[in-house]
């Protein structure tokens, strides 16, 4: 039979020891200085989804993510910089959705980086247009670098023979981006593809496309 007094004294000893060890000098609280979003902030839901995507790419999360992006595209239909950010996010989302665990490891990082910059820019409403364009450019550069990496990885993995169809099929980013921009360009005339160039290279008598090069002019 257990001696209750003995039990209690040991419990008290444990509690006291733990209180001493884990006494916090500054009670950390949820009220500590944290950046907070304004009411009705349009990116709140998207932020939650981006954080969720970091852990696991589920059908539910990716569907919600793409749905929110599409809603935001409508919301920001008259803001060309924001639209371009959203197009990049949508392209990355579709690429990750299509490739899941086979996605390039940097794709999630770039998704986060693009969202973080977009988020920052939307919050900082006072930013000038050149500043916004500069932020956008830095993310577009990262995005383009990722595209090149994906394509070069494919080339080095499979060799050069018969690559054109595979690259174009696998590289959802490329495909989505092209589709998105073509679609948006024709519909709203906001982004206009000034040149769509396919670089063609001859290998063993066979033609293949390395990648379509899209030069986009933003009429800002």
């Amino acid at each position: 039979m257990i001696d209750n007094n003995f039990e209690d004294s040991v419990n008290v000893e444990v509690e006291e020891r733990l209180d001493t060890i884990f006494k916090e000098d500054n009670n950390a609280s949820l009220n500590e200085e944290l950046e907070s979003y304004p009411d009705n902030y349009p990116l709140i839901e998207l932020k939650s989804l981006v954080l969720s995507l970091e852990w696991e790419i589920t059908d539910e999360v990716i569907t919600d993510f793409l749905m929110h992006i599409n809603n935001l595209i409508k919301f920001y239909h008259d803001d060309k910089v924001n639209l371009t950010f959203l197009q990049i996010l949508r392209s990355l989302g579709k690429y990750i959705d299509a490739n899941r665990s086979k996605s390039h490891p940097d794709s999630i990082k770039i998704l986060h980086s693009t969202f973080a910059t977009f988020d920052h820019m939307v919050q900082e409403e006072k930013k000038s247009l050149p500043e916004k364009k500069q932020l956008l450019k830095s993310e577009v550069d990262k995005y383009n670098k990722l595209r090149r990496l994906i394509i070069s990885n494919k080339l080095s993995l499979h060799g050069e023979k018969n690559q054109s169809s595979r690259i174009l099929a696998d590289s959802e980013i490329m495909k989505d981006e092209r589709d998105d921009y073509l679609y948006r360009g024709s519909e709203n005339n906001r982004l206009i593809i000034s040149q769509q160039q396919f670089i063609t290279k001859k290998t063993g008598g066979q033609n293949y496309h390395i990648q379509p090069v899209l030069l986009i002019i933003l009429y800002l």
Binding site: I2, V10, I21, S29, K47, W55, E56, E60
Partner: protein
């Protein structure tokens, strides 16, 4: 069952932080290590993959001193949360004395929390342990995001999803800020100590 050395009068208790990936298990240990490490000694070991994910587990042993004549040592472990690492999770659970289930309060993680708890139940069963009998504390993490107005699962919903039947102590917490990290640890150590003492008696 805790490792008890009657000759040396030493008890080693193993506490595992369990839960879905990216839920904040490692952040809990890091907070404890950074804020209390100088008081409790020990060194945290973390093995991570590219992209900062836990590959095997994090390990943080420390000493809480002599209690009732016994030198009590606590070993904190985390498990890799990613679904594909179940073998490692199961291995880490071997010989566990107490569990902190770190749930992710992000709305998109609701199913992951539930799946992870089911996974815990299954893995404990493998060692013939009953989830209803193992000392267990729930921590609903990432509550700091509420300040940023990021929509989170309400604690009532988390309680209903995870703790309705188990009815264990639970804490709304932020491992990043440190809110209720120490309280969670104190509670699980206390419950584990009581459980070990009870089994020794």
């Amino acid at each position: 069952m805790a490792f008890v050395n009657l000759k040396k009068k030493e008890i080693q208790a193993k506490i595992v932080y369990y839960g879905p990936g990216r839920g904040g298990k490692t952040t809990n240990l890091e907070y404890i290590y950074q804020n209390f490490g100088d008081r409790i000694g020990g060194k945290m070991v973390a093995i991570k993959t590219q992209g900062d994910r836990t590959l095997f587990f994090d390990f943080f042993p420390f000493d809480i001193g002599r209690i009732n004549g016994y030198q009590v040592k606590v070993q904190l472990y985390t498990v890799p949360g990613q679904i594909k690492y179940n073998a490692t999770r199961r291995l880490v659970l071997n010989g566990v004395d107490g569990i902190v289930f770190v749930a992710d309060a992000l709305i998109g993680q609701r199913n992951s929390n539930i799946m992870s708890l089911k996974n815990l139940y299954t893995n404990l069963k493998h060692y013939r342990k009953n989830i209803f009998k193992v000392p267990l504390v729930f921590q609903y993490n990432k509550m700091d995001l509420l300040q940023k107005k990021v929509p989170l699962l309400p604690t009532e919903m988390l309680e209903k999803d995870l703790n309705q039947q188990l009815k264990r102590p639970s804490f709304a917490a932020s491992a990043l800020v440190g809110t209720n990290v120490a309280a969670t640890l104190k509670k699980i150590i206390s419950m584990t100590a009581a459980s070990i003492k009870s089994s020794l008696n």
